[in-house]
Amino acid sequence: MKKALILAAALTLVPTFVAAESFENAYLQARAMYGQGAVFEWNGKQYAAVHEEEVEADIAATAENAQMMVDKAKAKNKEVAELGFEWKLTRGIIKDAESALTAGEYRKALDLAAQAKYHARMGIKQYHYAQSSWQLSVPQ
């Protein structure tokens, strides 16, 4: 097995819609076709298709870390709510994460909070994408 550079793909993300071939597209395509952890190459380097939040949550399962992840999810969800693009289930997932934290199930809390934060981040992306794409379905 080759040594693949496991970098948090999303950590280096920049808004790259203009680029015909972007790191983000390569990342999404690998993830879409082969799932989590799929290895792909971009500009001569290898990366694994792991969401930013999955990397963030890949830390020691402690109460402190779980609380930190929950806080991050809440902050991100607040951000998307202000844009008017909050998703329906996110608050519930954050609540579940908090319950898991209270119950001492820190791994579960970390994973749920990671999902909630991912949802919030995707909602923000959806908002920005909508600004330049809503026109596509208007009858002309």
């Binding site: 097995m1 879409a32 076709m33 952890g37 791994r107």
Partner: protein
């Protein structure tokens, strides 16, 4: 082309999220899970838009194309997986939700539903 899942299996996170567990399970179990995803309203709910030749898929909708000749239409199963994961790549205004990109289904559920529909 390959998946280097093993690389990441070290992380505890994967226990819950990865397709690994589903793959470990038998093909049959996976198909069964895929069928549940296909039919269940709060999971994939694929049946709301895609007809499929399964007697349990009653009152299927027709917003999307029927699930037929999948092996001919998608010789590369990974392309089918990508379509389930995010159909907006091929059609930005599609009604089909991006089941993977928006983490509506887990990666394991996507693998499972792909296995299920690939039989038809």
């Amino acid at each position: 082309m390959r998946k280097l899942k093993t690389l990441l299996c070290a992380t505890g996170l994967l226990a819950m999220l990865s397709a690994g567990s589903a793959q470990a399970a038998g093909q049959e179990e996976m198909i069964e899970m895929g069928k549940a995803v296909y039919l269940n309203k709060s999971r994939g709910n694929c049946v709301s838009c895609h007809q499929i030749n399964d007697p349990d898929a009653t009152q299927a909708g027709n917003q999307g194309p029927p699930i037929v000749a999948m092996k001919q239409r998608f010789p590369d199963k990974a392309v089918l997986r990508a379509q389930v994961w995010d159909a907006t790549v091929n059609n930005p205004i599609t009604i089909m939700p991006p089941l993977g990109k928006h983490w509506i289904l887990s990666e394991a559920e996507i693998d499972a539903v792909v296995e299920y529909v690939y039989q038809f």
